[in-house]
């Protein structure tokens, strides 16, 4: 652990919103109603506002914490939240708990404590351009295979790759390429049926799920988002359709 870096990360995250929301949370627990963790397993640790505790404690201690504390922080920030933001809908103050959870995750990232599964997905995303480590060749092959299948049903169907000047750049969740190509089939069918002027990209950036954002790793998040933007700009599209 490097307390200097931790304190630096905390200072970097302590902006207007963090201060605002950490200070006005009334700890009323109304957010519990919106949380699927709490609804399926109503433990106190599953109340969204509970996820603010490690951050509040860290601010109170001015960053002077130990390894066990950080482990609790990691378990809370990564283990009890999918950052879906439903809790914000139920909060009378409209506090973005997901924003605060992401700030908390950034503190874990600053200590190299990103959970293993996320860390390897993130390494994949940075290296291969998608978090499942699909190679460009595999990606193109999967698209061509599904297009072929689709053409049996819809002979005029197309799936242009790197078509300059198309209206829309379609991006994917890599899960739909690797595990559920049937989903890819359905997307292509839908866009063709709708007469959408779309293109795919062969560049890194075809995966628009930003695992860096989810992990709380800001530089990685910026890199991954930048690739999607660059892919869109290079092709001159007007709209980028992001994945679920």
């Amino acid at each position: 652990m490097d307390l200097g870096i931790l304190k630096q990360a905390l200072a970097g995250k302590s902006g207007a919103r963090l201060k605002l929301w950490m200070e006005i949370c009334a700890r009323c627990g109304l957010c519990a109603q919106g949380c699927h963790f709490f609804q399926s397993d109503p433990r106190p640790e599953h109340v969204p506002a509970y996820r603010l505790k490690p951050l509040a404690e860290l601010i109170r201690k001015k960053g002077d914490v130990d390894e066990a504390f950080m482990q609790w922080l990691v378990d809370t920030a990564y283990g009890t939240c999918t950052m879906c933001q439903r809790c914000t809908m139920f909060c009378p103050h409209g506090i973005s708990i997901a924003f605060l959870v992401r700030a908390t995750r950034a503190l874990a990232v600053s200590q190299g404590m990103t959970p293993q599964g996320l860390a390897s997905g993130l390494a994949n995303a940075l290296e291969f351009g998608n978090n499942l480590g699909i190679t460009e060749e595999e990606y193109i092959e999967t698209v061509e295979w599904q297009l072929e299948e689709l053409q049996a049903e819809m002979p005029d169907a197309v799936a242009p790759i790197d078509k300059k000047g198309a209206e829309v750049l379609v991006t994917f969740h890599p899960r739909d390429i690797k595990f559920y190509p049937q989903n890819l089939y359905c997307y292509l069918k839908l866009y063709n049926a709708a007469g959408l002027d779309f293109t795919l990209t062969s560049a890194k950036g075809w995966d628009s799920t930003n695992i860096g954002l989810f992990a709380g790793d800001d530089p990685a998040a910026a890199e991954l988002a930048g690739r999607v933007v660059a892919a869109g700009e290079n092709l001159g599209v007007r709209t980028i359709l992001t994945a679920e």
Binding site: L20, I24, A26, R27, G29, G34, P44, H46, P92, S96
Partner: protein
């Protein structure tokens, strides 16, 4: 210092001080948010969507939101608590008379009987909030000492005011405690979660604007 001179001090110079701290401190909390947000990202304010911010504030100022539908009891308690507190503080006849005597400005008042009932309503809501903190495990787990302190700071002027008005105890004592606790509550606003008195509007505006950008409704 006798009780009555303490009262005179608390209702005079101390109140002027507390009210100034309350007003300036609350204003500073809002200004600080804007300054910090602008320092972090000068473009952040440009993306602000005022109409969505306003919609979001309105949906929670009148109970037209998902929590009001799904948690009606807590919403009723919350609204009773806040409306009764503001109603009695601003429109109880004795309060308005004091302002009139001091600054020669006046406004309509509540009938004393209504103020009485509002106070009972407030105390019942406060009791409900306290009960909720104690009895719901997930709320108890969130609760900190400052939550109890802030609830006590808010309830104290209402309770002592009622006791003084009804003359249930030593009037001089309770009216002095009433004014002192009122001062304390005002002083606490900028420095505790009571700052939501003003920051509620800032927070809802921020979230309303964010959600508006995504076209997902004015939560």
């Amino acid at each position: 210092m006798t009780l009555l001179s303490l009262y005179d001090f608390a209702a005079g110079p101390l109140f002027a001080f507390s009210f100034s701290v309350f007003a300036l401190g609350s204003g500073w909390r809002v200004l600080r948010f804007v300054l910090l947000a602008r320092a972090a990202d000068p473009a952040a304010l440009k993306g602000f969507r005022p109409s969505w911010a306003l919609k979001s504030i309105l949906r929670w100022l009148v109970p037209a939101n998902i929590t009001a539908r799904e948690n009606a009891l807590m919403t009723a308690a919350g609204f009773s608590f806040h409306l009764a507190l503001l109603g009695v503080a601003l429109f109880f006849s004795a309060h308005v008379v004091l302002v009139d005597l001091a600054w020669d400005v006046s406004w309509p008042t509540l009938p004393d009987e209504a103020a009485d009932w509002l106070t009972y309503l407030f105390l019942a809501s406060a009791a409900f909030l306290a009960w909720r903190r104690l009895s719901l495990p997930h709320v108890r787990a969130l609760t900190t000492a400052s939550d109890w302190l802030v609830l006590a700071l808010t309830a104290a002027p209402m309770l002592t005011g009622l006791i003084a008005y009804r003359q249930w105890g030593d009037y001089d004592l309770f009216i002095t405690l009433h004014v002192l606790s009122g001062n304390l509550m005002l002083l606490a606003v900028p420095f505790t979660k009571l700052s939501h008195a003003v920051l509620f509007f800032v927070s809802r505006a921020v979230t309303g604007s964010d959600f508006g950008k995504r076209n997902v409704g004015a939560w």
